[in-house]
Amino acid sequence: MSSVYLDHAATSPLCTEAQEAMEPFLSSRFGNPSEPHRMGREARTAIEGARRTMAELLGCRPEQIVYTSGGTEADNQAVFGLCGRPLGRLVCSVIEHPAVRAPAEELARQGFEVGWAPVDVNGVIDPAAFAELVRADDRVACAMWANNVTGVVQPVAELAAIAASHGVPLHVDAVQAAASIPISFAASGAETMALSAHKVQGPKGVGALIARDPGRLRPLIWGGGQEAGHRSGTENVPGIVGFAAALAASRERRDGRRRLRDRLEAGVGAVPVVSAGASRLPGHVLLRIDGLRADLVVLALDEAGYEVSAGSACSAGSMEPSAALVAQGMTPDEARAVIRVTIGPHTTGAEIDGFLEALRAIVLRLRSGALA
């Protein structure tokens, strides 16, 4: 039985456009873009073309794009690069992806002060609280465009304006948002922005940091001076080409996800939908299956042929309820009852109906063994 993939926020399948664009660079056109010979020049032309395509799609200049190994590296480069030395202070929302939160925590261990910006009950960063936290000498303020767990879209423009009024640069993790929102770097007001290819149906292992002035950031990775010295290491040519193709294709695609999401949410009955009152990414649905552990429900759905994820993950003996869900006021037990269903561009209505039926049966079965 082939399964129905409803975990597009975790990663998405490589689209045909990206696959076709990458193909030559995985075989015959394998040149190193730093070399002056024909093979090298071909590769160079390809990545610079990709850079121009992406710059146009993302509302930035080509030289503002620095390709990285993925979203995590881009986030790390932005946070560490903007904070630098000597010790100082930064602001970070409590719902940031670990790729931002962990660098902030590491800086705190090194002696930085971190102001943690709270969210409301829907998981939206509170602009008033954010405004009170940001101070003129902060090195950076971090706010994601859309949360990876909840899919809640954040008031990025408003937060950027607040940061700008104090002269503080804003770093925006747009990794999850880029799959659904026509991101414009220029319009966002951000100083830096992180993206990842595999979330937009591109290949894994490639991401991008967009920076108003990449020269402001002290590099994380030193070496042969690729990416104008901002990120050394031979460029991932097929990855970069695939990234640009995938992003371009995503902007062309008709998006039926919102309609499918409405269909799904209408069909879940009494099961609470998390952050229903907030603006969310169109493919994101979070369901709270009270009285059950989400990871068990996920396994049961997998057995029934539906691949979704748990809002919180258990790691080796210690249960870590999702920081984003706890931050918006859930108890640990509630946070651990949340499953995340993320719809893709090719998901069908029949698949949603099948999922609903499977979920109903599973909840009924598993609740018979739940504690009263």
Binding site: G291, L292, R293, D295, L296, L299, A300, E303, C314, S315, A316, G317, S318, M319, P332, D333, R336, R365, L366, S368, G369, A370, L371, A372
Partner: protein
Amino acid sequence: MYSDAVIRHALDASRAGELVPHGAVGRAGDAACGDTVEIELRVEDDTVTEARHRSLACPHGTAAAALLCELVEGRDLLDAARIGQSDLDAALTPREGNRECLAVAVDALHAAIAAALQDGRLPLADGRIAVAMSGGVDSAVALLKAVEAGHEPVGVTLRLWIDPAAPDSERACCSPSSVRAARSACHALDVPHVTLDLREGFRRAVVEEFVGAHRRGLTPNPCVRCNGSFRFDALIGFADRIGAPRLATGHYARVVRRDGRALLARGADPAKDQSYMLASVSTEILARVWFPLGEQHKTATRAEARQAGLAAAGRAESQEVCFVGGGDHRDFLARHGGAGPAGEIVDEAGRVIGMHEGVHRFTAGQRRGLGVGGGPALYVLRTETATGRVVAGDRSKLAVRRVRVSPGEVFVPVDHALVRLRYRGAPVPARVVPAGDGFELELEEPAYGVAAGQAAVLYDGDTVVGAGRIASSGASVR
């Protein structure tokens, strides 16, 4: 990540739910991850005929509960008590970090087994012996000796109340980790193990008494009280329920017979002798007790544990009162309403010579903590809870020649005995005079630091011939 076996058992709902009518229920929760598992057993003719589980648990915990229900069906209760972590490890092949996630279900099964045993009584079996297991090295070796002697041992661990606010409540004996260590020590020898959850009863009978006695200005010995009126009663009651004529523990003490009566005697290791702590255990219970370590030294115990490869060989042991859970019993008292008032430190003439932070921090004979500098060394002579005063003075003023013990009991008629007035105190020769509900002791040489509330234990040679609680003491013999 999940092994295939974990996924299969986690999703197998065939034993999920509850029994109608209800059977014996055991419930366990894991404080670290918040998972909870309940297991319910139907027992007919001492055999588990049906098992069900309910849980709010991750796939590992749920799979463990489902598998345990499958494994336990068809076994008699004591055989069921042989099931443990290693059965799950073998069947579910979890990754190292996930073994802990299975343990909560094992705890639930064992709670259910204990509940089932509580309800019933197994027929008497001649060779059966209950072995008290603490999780430490002594009880592990005692168990080994019971196995080697050809008995049919059944391990039992009392889970007792520990101060949840204590600094290292998890490391204390009777903590969940000690219970698990005790269980695995039994299972390693293929011996059934049962855990009795006596937290509430222990708190009432021993802990509250301890706090209350301190509040009255006494210096109680909770271990003597616990052994005499709680622990051994619970253990012998368990032995009765499982049809075991005898009980073994890993204490360093012996049982001797005199005039047909079972009496306690010192253990062969003078440094480890625990007869003082056990002095209040009744003769009826002693008649059924075996102390396998009574004839040997601790060093021999450690060597035997190492030689047998027992996991407990390297376990640290604590000497502090168990429920205090690490730290100091004075801090414990402060947390639990046993703290006395702060006040003055005065000399015998009533002159104020310093201040203190609470009378519960002081006991007669104590030298440390007075914080009064200069002059000759000062000792606490007595504490006055009513006025909050601590009276301090020269050591010679502590000399005691007469001790009233009430309540107390002389087990065999004696005129003279060696009396021990505190744990590890040097024995003092004394004349023993029956009086009221106890006896009076006329000491032949002075004793120092005699505190009301402590136990007085009488020895005739190595044999404990009497015991009781010190009610008062005086400097002169009438």
